[in-house]
Amino acid sequence: MLREGLSRRKVVTLAVAGLVGAAVTHRKAIAAIAADMIEVAPGLFVRTGLTEIATAANRDAIANIGFVVDRESVAVIDPGGSLADGLALRSAIRARTSLPIRYVIVTHIHPDHILGCPAFAGDHPEFIGHAALPRSIAERGEFYRAGMHELLGDEGGAAVMPDRTIAATGTIDLGGRKLEIRAHGPAHSGSDLTVMDSTTGTLWAADLLFVTRVPSLDGSVRGWLRELAALDDTNPARVVPGHGPASVPWPDGAADVRRYLETLAADVRAVLKRGGDLDEAAQVAALSERGRWQLFDEYNAHNIAHAVHELEWENAQ
C-alpha cells in the first residue's frame, strides 16, 4: 500500500496548504456550512446539498453528505464535492466530537460525492468504496480533479483510491453500532453503495434516491429500478437521499424517482418500437416529468441518450 500511503501524504500536504491558505478567508463560509448539519437520527448527521450545478460559489456542495458517530469512532458518508466542501464537513464533525474519524465511505464516483476525500487524509481513515470504484477513478479521477481545479484551484480536491472495496456487503463497527455497506449493480452509476444503520433504522441510499433534483443516469435505467426494488427488503424507518431533504420516508420517498425512471424507459421504448431513434427520443422522452423536477433541462437530455443506448439493444433479434 506504499502508493496509496504516499498519495495520502501528498494529499496531507495539499490539505495543510489548503487550510493555511484558506483559513482566514473562508472561516466564515465554513462556519455557515457547518451550521447546516441535521441530526436525522441519533448520531447520524446529514448536510443537505444545494439544488444547483457545481459552481465556484457553491464549492460543489450540491450533494447530501454527512457522518455517523458512536462510542468509539466516526464514519463519514461521502466527503463532499471539493476540498473546501470536505473541510467544512470535517469542521462540522469536530464541532461535535473529537472521536477519531476511522472510515470514509465514498458512495460512488461522481465529483460531488468524492472530491472532498483529501480533507480527511490527515485522519488516516479507511477509505471504502465499491469494487468497481478503483477502475472508475482510474478512468475519470483526473478529469474530475482537473475540472474542479478550474473552478476552485487548490481547493478543488481529488478522488482517493479506496483502501477497502465492497463487492457485495461489508460491515464497519463504530463501537455501539455497526453500519452495513451494500454494493449495487449498475444503477445510478457503476459504483453505487448504500449504507444501512440498523440501530436507528436509517438507510443512507445516496444517489439511488433523488428527491426534488432530477435524477441523473450514468449506470443503467433497468438496473436502477431493480436496485430500488431490492432495497424494499431493508424496510427502513427513514432514508437519506443523495439529493433532496435530509431524510424521507420509505417507500414513499422513492416514488418520484421510480416514476421518472419508469417513464423514461417506457417513453424511450415507445420511440424505438415505432422506428424512431435518438433524435426523436431526445424531443419527447420523459417530457411529462418536466414540471416535477428541478434542473430538468440540465440533465434529462443526457439521461435520454444513456437510456436509448441501453434500450436499443434490449430486444435485439
Partner: protein, 262 residues
Amino acid sequence: MKPIFCAALVLLSLGLARATRAGENEEAQRWELVRNSVYHGRAMQDAGDAVQVIVPDRALDAALVPVTVRLDTPKRIVALSLFVDNNPAPLVGTFHFGPAISATQIKLRVRVNAFTPIHAVAETEEGTLLNASHFVKAAGGCSAPSTGQSADIAANIGQMQLRRTRPDDGSPIPAQLLISHPNYSGMQTNPGGANFIPARYLETVSIKTGGVTVFDLATDISLSEDPVIGFSYTPAGDGGVDVVAHDSSGAVFSRHFESLAN
C-alpha cells in the same frame, strides 16, 4: 458501455477542457488542414440549402452525438464525407453511394471533443464538392462514462439490427442499422495498467439490397461505439438486405435481413 475515448483525448491534451470557441481564424486554418488531407486542394463550394448538417442544440452525450445530414439537390450525390474537425482522426467516414440509396438523409453517431465544427462534404457525379458545417458544443461530454463490461462486449460484438418502417406508398424505406462494436481507438489506457486497450474499430460497412449496392462506408475511430447509421434505400431483387462489416482486427461480421413483410 461507453469507452473513455474522449476522456483520453482530454487527458492527452493540455488537460484543460476546451470550453470556449476558438477564433474564426484558428477554426478556418484547422478546417483547411483537415480538408486538404482528404481533398488535396480541390475547390469546394458552400452547399447552401443543398446540404444541411443538423445536430441537437443541447448536446446529449459527446460519445454519441447524433449528426443528421440532409441532402436536397436535384444533382446526383455519389459520395458524402463527415468530419469532426478537432478530433485527431477528423474524418469520421466516407459514404460511397450505390444505385439503391435514396440520398436524402444520412444519420450517424460520432464522438466529439468539446466544441468543434462538424463538416459534411457531398460530392456530385460531376465532381463538385458541396460543403456545409455546424458548430457543436459538447461541453464536458468527453468525460463519457465507461460502464462497459468487457465480457458483454466480447459476447455481443458484431451483432446487428436493421430497423425499418414500411412507408405506404412504395417510396424508399427509411432504415437504421445498429452494430454492436466497442470501436476502441487504441488510445485508451487500460485502467490500472501500462498498456493501451488495442485499437479495434470498424473499417468498412457495406450494404446491398437484392445484390444492388446501397452504400459502402469507410470509417475509423471517430465513429461512436455501437454505431447507429440512418439511411433510406429502395429495395431491389427480393427486397432483402445484406450487411457486411470489417473491423481492424480482420474480423468480418455479416447478416442478411429478410425483406419487410407486406
